[in-house]
Symmetry: C2
Subunit: 324 residues, 2 copies
C-alpha cells in the first residue's frame, strides 16, 4: 500500500509529538510542517512552510493534523483546512463540540473531505470508554478520575495571581474514592471527594506568600471546591522537577446485570507525556481519516463514528487472525 | 424509533443472560427463544419455540443472538441462521476464527444479512483494546492477564480425572507480574510467571487424593506449565462457595513515545458473572447489527468493523453532546 502523506499544522508541544509519532509508523510519511511563525526560524527534518501557503499542498497531502489550541486556533483553522484537506484535530472545549462539529461538517462534506474532530484521550479514548460501558451496562454509574497529572488550565490560573512568577498544578485522584468505585460500592462523590489539587509556586521577591496561598485556595471554579495544597519552591526546583507533562486517569463504570451481579469496566492511562500521547492518538486517527476518505466517505466524524480496525496499519484479515 | 426485535438461540447460562440484558434495554424487544429441547419443558416469559421452526420468524425478528457453544453449536447454527437473519455470536475458538468468518460471510452476504461474530469480552472487548493500544503505541509490549475467574475448560479437565466427582478451577493473575507491567518495566514473563491455577476438587469415596493431585498438576497444556494448587473439599462446600461464575482480567500495553516517555494503556474487567456480562456485550452488538442492516450493510463483521456509536441507543448527535 502507498504511504499516507501527512502535514502538521502548528508546531508546539503537540505538533512536535505528532512529528515523533509519525516516525513510529512506517505507513505514514510526513510531508511538511505549517506554522504561523517565520518558517526560516523553525528547525525540523521536513519542509517548514508558512500556514498561508498550505493551499499549494492540495493533492500532495492526504491528511492535515491540526495541532493548534481549542480556544482560538481550531475554530479558525478547522473549517479553513477542512475545505482543502482531510483533517484530524483535538478540539476539546466540550460545551462547544456540537457547534464545532456542524461548522466542520459543512465544509468537509461540501468539499469531499473527512474531518475527525475532538480526538485524543479526553475527549477521545475516555469518551469511547464512557460510551462503550454505558451501552453494555445501561444500569450503572460512571466515574472519571483524572491524574496524577499537570492541568494546563489550573497552572495558568496560578500564574495569573499577583506576585506569582511561575507555577505548576497537579490534579490528583483521591485514592480512597477510586478504591470504593473499584469495589463496586457506587458511592456518591462530591467534587472535593474525587480530586485533590497540588500546586508548586514560584513567587516574585518580597511577595506575600500567605496572601498568595489564600488567593489560590479560594479561587472559584479552579480551586475553591477542592482540597488544595500550595508549595512554594524556587524557580530552579520547578524547572528540575516539574517540567514534564505527565497525565492520565481512569474511566470506571460499575453496573448491575441479572439479579444482582456487579460488573466493573475500567479504562486507564498512565502517561509520562500528555502531548506525546495525544499526538499518538491523532496519528492513528489520521490513518483512519485517510482510509475513510479513500473509501469515498466525507464530512465530520468523531471517535464514535470510526471502526477501530481503520486505526491500524493491518488489514481486516490480519486483525481477525492476529488480534481477535 | 421502532423497537428492534430479537430472538435467542440456545437457552443455557448465556441465553438466560441475554434475556435479562434485553430487559435493561427498552429499545429492544425479545420475541422468542429457540431451543433444541422440547419447548414445552422450558419456562420463559416469551414464546419458546423449537429451533427447527425458526424459519417461520423470518421478517418478524431483526437479530438472532446465537448463544450456543463454539465447539459444535456455532459451526452448525452460525451459517444456518446467517442465511435467514441478522445474527450475533460469541464464537471464541481463536484459531478457527478466519475460517468461521469466511463461512458466515458467504451466507450473510448472499442473503443480505449482517452477522457479527466473535463478540463478548475475549474475543471482543479485550481484542478491541489490544488492537487500539497497538495502533496508538506501535513501539510497545502487550500483556493480557485473565482472572480471578472460573475457567470452564480447566474445570472440565479436572472433572475428567478418574476418581473426581466435581471440580472448579480458578485462573489467577500473578499480582507481582501485573505490578511490574503497570510500573512500565516491560518484563519478559513466562507462562508460570503470569498466572496461577487454583483447583477445588470433590472426589469419589475412597479415591486416592494424592494420585489425583499429582495427575492434575502434571496434566500437559492445562496445568503442567503453571503453579497449581489443589484443594479437596466436599460437594456441599463446592455448591455453597464455588457455584458463581466470576471472571475478568486486564489488557495492558506499555509503550514508548518521543525520546523515552513511557505510556501505559490499561483495560480491565471485574465480573461477578461472566455469562451475564458476555450476554450484555452480545445485546449491545445486536443493536449495532440491526442498525448496520437497516443502513443496507451486509456480510460478516467483527468488533473491529463496527463504530462504537452503533452500540448505543443514543443518536450520533446525542452522543457528541453528552459523551464526547
Amino acid at each position: 500500500m502507498k504511504q499516507i502523506t501527512v502535514g502538521i499544522v502548528g508546531y508546539g508541544n503537540l505538533g512536535r509529538g505528532v512529528e515523533k509519532a509519525i516516525r513510529q509508523n512506517p505507513d505514514l510519511q510526513l510531508e511538511a510542517i505549517f506554522t504561523r511563525r517565520e518558517p526560516n526560524g523553525v528547525e525540523a527534518g521536513v519542509p517548514v512552510v508558512h500556514i498561508s501557503e498550505a493551499e499549494k499542498y492540495i493533492g500532495k497531502i492526504d491528511v492535515m493534523i491540526l495541532c493548534g489550541g481549542s480556544a482560538t486556533d481550531l475554530p479558525e483553522q478547522g473549517p479553513q483546512f477542512a475545505k482543502m484537506f482531510n483533517t484530524v484535530d483535538s478540539f476539546d472545549t466540550h460545551a462547544r463540540i456540537p457547534e464545532y462539529f456542524a461548522t466542520i461538517d459543512a465544509e468537509a462534506a461540501a468539499n469531499g473531505h473527512v474531518s475527525v474532530i475532538s480526538t485524543g484521550w479526553d475527549p477521545g479514548l475516555f469518551s469511547l470508554n464512557r460510551m462503550l460501558a454505558e451501552a453494555i451496562l445501561p444500569e450503572g454509574k460512571e466515574y472519571t478520575f483524572w491524574g496524577r497529572g499537570v492541568s494546563q488550565g489550573h497552572s495558568d490560573a496560578i500564574r495569573r495571581v499577583e506576585g506569582v512568577k511561575n507555577g505548576v498544578q497537579y490534579t490528583i485522584p483521591v485514592e480512597e474514592a477510586v478504591a470504593k468505585v473499584r469495589a463496586g460500592e457506587n458511592p456518591e462523590l462530591t467534587t472535593r471527594q474525587k480530586h485533590l489539587r497540588e500546586c508548586f509556586v514560584v513567587t516574585e521577591e518580597g511577595a506575600d506568600q500567605a496572601r498568595i496561598e489564600k488567593e489560590i485556595k479560594e479561587m472559584p471554579n479552579y480551586f475553591s471546591d477542592y482540597d488544595t495544597t500550595v508549595n512554594f519552591i524556587s524557580e530552579e526546583e520547578l524547572k528540575a522537577n516539574h517540567s514534564a507533562m505527565p497525565h492520565g486517569g481512569t474511566v470506571l463504570r460499575s453496573g448491575r446485570t441479572g439479579e444482582n451481579s456487579t460488573q466493573i469496566i475500567e479504562f486507564g492511562l498512565k502517561l509520562d507525556s500528555n502531548p506525546e500521547f495525544t499526538a499518538s492518538v491523532l496519528v492513528a486517527y489520521a490513518r483512519a481519516a485517510a482510509k475513510l476518505s479513500a473509501q469515498g466517505d466525507k464530512g465530520a466524524k468523531t471517535v464514535f463514528d470510526i471502526p477501530f480496525g481503520l486505526l491500524s496499519p493491518k488489514s481486516a484479515e490480519q486483525l481477525r487472525k492476529e488480534l481477535l
